[in-house]
Every structure is written in structure tokens, then in C-alpha cells.
């Protein structure tokens, strides 16, 4: 039983728009084997994520050996998924799946810097599975909920910063603090993405239509 099993990293739920903005990566200790985290702009760390979306395109972009890139789209943007020889199972799913398909992916965020200095965030899959539309909808709702939770915690911390005289009873939020230092985009953007994502769901859209015509 290894230590890593005992402290298995949670798979965060995060929409593509926020995931792709998570360009700052860090470790919590100097230990060589310490886990890598991506800093989510809504104020949390992610070593692993679980995402569900539409696989719209796959391409073998490798030179010598196979290196598959998949585009996975959610209501807010696109996840770029890369799987090569060290992710043989995920690579074979990308090779064998005919887009479009709904897929769920468990994977790790990876950052890389392009020649012009921009930092891109990609997803290195541990597993990819073809799923149905109901699983996709459930993920959108779940991810909306988790994202709102993070935003709420972020805003509670922010309010405390602005009104410190009210006493220091508010919880500290280490990652909100880190996010404000590292990122420019305000968290309200991600709230808007959540609204957009929820509105895109069919059940919600139907109800909205009913209300509009009532």
C-alpha cells in the first residue's frame, strides 16, 4: 500500500474556460515526487480533474510514435487532450473513437509554453470512456455546482479582505489569495460561464421556453 493510494488526489470538476485559464502550476513541497497542481482561478488547486464533453476531433500529431490529440468541447470551451505511448489505453480510445461522441475523461492538467510565450493548458488522460448524453448533462450540473461553491468561497474571502475591521472570523482561503496574485480575470467571468453552461442544457432551455410563452 503506497502513500499515494492513501492520499489519492480528488478529481476536481472544472469547465473548459476555467481549466484553460489555469496556467499557473505549482508544488506544495520541494520533494521531487510531490504532486503538481494547477491553480484554478476560482481559488482551488487541481492535481486531477474529471471532465465530460463532446469529442469533436481526433488527430495523430506524433512524429515518430503515435501521439493523439483530441478536442473535447463543453458549453464553455474546448479541452485539449493529449495521449501518447505512456497513456496507451487513452491513446487507443482516441484512435478508435469516431467523433462526435460524448466522452468522460479522468486526467491531469499539464501546462506548456509556446514559442511566443503564451502558456497553454492541456489534459493528460488517465482514462477515457465513451458515455451517454445523460452523463454529460449530469457533469455540467455537477461542475456548475462545484464552480459556484468555489466562487462563493472566493467572494467570502474577498469580502473579508475589503472589510477587515469586521473581525477575522472568515476562513482563510490560501488558493483564492494565490489566484488573485497570479491571475487577472475576475471570478465573475466564471459565474457567467456557469450560467451559460446551465442554460445550454436542454431541460432548462425547454422550461425557459415554457415560461416565456406562458
Amino acid at each position: 500500500m503506497s502513500q499515494s493510494e492513501l492520499t489519492r488526489e480528488v478529481a476536481r470538476r472544472v469547465f473548459a474556460s476555467e481549466f484553460n485559464d489555469s496556467t499557473y502550476a505549482f508544488k506544495e513541497s520541494d520533494d521531487e515526487r510531490a504532486p503538481n497542481y494547477a491553480l484554478l482561478p476560482t481559488g482551488d488547486r487541481a492535481n486531477r480533474v474529471f471532465v465530460v464533453g463532446t469529442l469533436t476531433e481526433t488527430e495523430d500529431v506524433g512524429d515518430d510514435s503515435e501521439y493523439w490529440r483530441g478536442r473535447v468541447v463543453d458549453p464553455t470551451g474546448t479541452f485539449f487532450v493529449y495521449a501518447g505511448q505512456y497513456q496507451p489505453e487513452a491513446a487507443s480510445v482516441l484512435r478508435d473513437t469516431e467523433p462526435p461522441e460524448y466522452v468522460s475523461i479522468v486526467g491531469k492538467p499539464r501546462t506548456y509554453e509556446t514559442d511566443d510565450g503564451t502558456v497553454n493548458v492541456s489534459l493528460r488522460p488517465e482514462s477515457i470512456a465513451v458515455v451517454d448524453d445523460e452523463t454529460r448533462d449530469r457533469w455540467v450540473v455537477e461542475t456548475a455546482e462545484r464552480t459556484l461553491d468555489r466562487i462563493e468561497a472566493f467572494e467570502a474571502w474577498e469580502a473579508e479582505q475589503e472589510a477587515p475591521e469586521s473581525g477575522s472570523t472568515a476562513p482563510t482561503n490560501e488558493y483564492a489569495e494565490m489566484a488573485r496574485e497570479r491571475y487577472d480575470s475576475p471570478v465573475v467571468n466564471y459565474r457567467n460561464d456557469v450560467i451559460q453552461a446551465l442554460e445550454s442544457l436542454e431541460t432548462v432551455a425547454e422550461n425557459d421556453d415554457l415560461e416565456a410563452t406562458a
Partner: protein
């Protein structure tokens, strides 16, 4: 009574079951250290205790540091407390080390807790399903989870009664994000009372053996806040996958490889949302009641909340 005498009495009492030693002898050792060598009392006490531990061939945890108190499993919330429990042995697990005689799960009406019984304590064997009064066990904590350790001072008395075990039931709703090794079609040791899983055809305890096929899944179900480890036994695995043990054996036979079963199961379950209910065993949840979540999720309420933020 002098201070030194009081400490000597305490130490003497701790060892009275193990050593034929006079209080005077203990006191003399303490006095020498404190008066002659100017050692602080707590250090002197520690040194003298260690001396007698060595003489008796005991470990520190084998001697009680005071009177143990009757407790329920629910009440265990501190490490290194000496308590008495009346509990039922719910399950015995495979000891991972030769220094452990038995390890498993105890239950009483308030909950369940892991127990470890050291081999060197030479205590009688506990039986699965048996109810025991366990006097003088010591609590321990590891990563926020409590356990009790049986030691050579523990008194085990079998009770001729059944005990209702309170269920520490967990309900988890989340995505099954990983299936761990040791899942699928496995072989268990056929020796009586041994259910160890064979590794490369070998049982840790009984060596090379034919083994009996069984089905199980060790999975991680993750709700985005915590990663829970869930075990599906044969019945739960059959229900979840629709694959029977017989079919799994046929599949493995055709492929001349048992891993095809795990591969098929993995492809079927990873990435799917489930609601799982079942008792908690240490860090595992045993899947009793499993439901695939494929109905529509309610987005309305969240949308209202998001718009009002």
C-alpha cells in the same frame, strides 16, 4: 507519601503483572537518578520504566499507563487512550506483516473500528462473528482514522451473546474515476478460514495453491470533494456489470488470460456516475446498494442561484 514513592508506586503497578519486583527497588532506582544524578523526575521515570520494560521483554505499549475505562466505539476520538470494549468481530483481514497476528474490524451498537492484535502479545485468536469483552486495549490514530490495538495486557473474554452492530453507513454520489489492481477475476486461497487473494498463484500464508475464482472490484468513486474507495463483492460485481462469475471464467478461459475480465469491467464502469450505499470498513465503503445515475440532473435551482450571485 513522598513524591518519589508515588512515582515508584505507579511504575510498580504497571509491572506487577509482568515482573516480580519490589516497590523499594523501583524507588531506589528513581532516588538514585533524581538525588544523585539530578535528573528531572519525568526523565527519571522514563528511564526506570524503560529499564523494567527491557527486563520484562515488553514494549512500551504493552503496559498500561493507568486504568482503562469502558467505552463505546463511537467514543474513540483520541489516540493512546486505554479502554475496555465489548464488540463483535465483523471481519478478519489478511495481516500484511508477520508481526501482526490478527487484523480486522470490530463493531458495537455505536459503530465500527479497525483492530490490530500483535503476534508477540500471544493472545487467543478472535473468531469472526464472535462477541468479546476486550479489556485494556489502546487506541491509535492514523490520518484521522482511529483503531484499537490489542496488546499483551489485554484481557479477552468471549461473551455468550450476540451484539447488534450499528452501521456506519455511507452514501456516496459521484463518478467512478478509477478501477484499482486486484479487481476483476481473482483467485482466493482455498485453505479453510483463509480468504487471501493469491498473488501470482501464491498465498502469503499457505504458499502455492490452486485457488478458487472470485469476482470483485476495487474502485474509486469521486464526487469532486473526496475520493472514496469502494469495494464490490461478487454479488455486487455481478449486479453492476451483468457479468456472472461463470461467464467471467469462460471469458478468461477463451483468452487464456484473466485480465480480459478486468479490462471489460473497466471499460463498462469507469467514467459513469453512481450512487453507492454501504457500510464503511476502515477506508473502504462496501457497496451494498448501487444505482447508476442516469436520470436528468436538476439544473433549475442552480441556475437561480448563479443568477442571483
Amino acid at each position: 507519601m513522598s513524591d518519589v514513592r508515588q512515582h515508584a508506586d505507579d511504575i510498580h503497578e504497571q509491572f506487577s503483572d509482568h515482573l516480580d519486583v519490589d516497590v523499594e527497588d523501583v524507588e531506589e532506582r528513581l532516588t538514585t537518578l533524581v538525588d544523585e544524578y539530578k535528573v528531572p523526575m519525568d526523565e527519571a521515570r522514563r528511564s526506570v520504566t524503560n529499564h523494567y520494560l527491557e527486563e520484562a521483554g515488553l514494549e512500551r505499549e504493552d503496559i498500561s499507563s493507568g486504568d482503562s475505562e469502558a467505552a463505546t466505539i463511537e467514543e474513540v476520538d483520541e489516540p493512546e487512550e486505554w479502554i475496555d470494549l465489548t464488540a463483535k468481530v465483523i471481519e478478519l483481514w489478511d495481516p500484511r506483516s508477520d508481526s501482526v497476528a490478527q487484523v480486522g474490524l470490530l463493531g458495537d451498537p455505536t459503530g465500527t473500528i479497525k483492530f490490530t492484535k500483535w503476534a508477540k502479545s500471544e493472545l487467543p485468536a478472535l473468531e469472526e462473528g464472535g462477541v468479546y469483552e476486550l479489556r485494556n486495549v489502546v487506541t491509535d490514530e492514523y490520518q484521522g482514522r482511529y483503531s484499537v490495538k490489542l496488546n499483551s495486557t489485554t484481557v479477552i473474554e468471549e461473551r455468550d451473546e450476540d451484539l447488534e452492530v450499528g452501521n456506519d453507513t455511507s452514501e456516496i454520489e459521484g463518478a467512478l474515476v478509477d478501477m484499482q489492481s486486484g479487481s476483476g477475476l481473482i483467485k482466493r486461497c482455498p485453505e479453510e478460514d483463509c480468504t487471501r487473494v493469491l498473488q501470482n498463484g501464491r498465498c502469503n500464508e499457505h504458499g502455492e495453491g490452486e485457488g478458487e475464482f472470485d469476482l470483485r472490484i476495487k474502485a474509486v468513486v469521486d464526487d469532486g470533494i473526496d475520493a472514496h474507495e469502494v469495494i464490490f463483492d461478487k454479488d455486487a460485481t455481478e449486479d453492476l456489470t451483468g457479468l456472472s462469475l461463470e461467464e467471467a471464467k469462460d471469458m478468461a478461459m477463451d483468452a487464456l488470460d484473466t485480465t480480459v475480465v478486468a479490462d471489460e469491467i473497466r471499460a463498462d464502469i469507469v467514467g459513469t456516475y453512481y450512487r453507492i450505499e454501504g457500510p464503511t470498513f476502515g477506508r473502504y465503503v462496501l457497496a451494498d446498494d448501487v444505482e447508476e445515475l442516469d436520470g436528468p440532473a436538476d439544473a433549475e435551482e442552480l441556475l437561480i442561484k448563479a443568477r442571483s450571485m
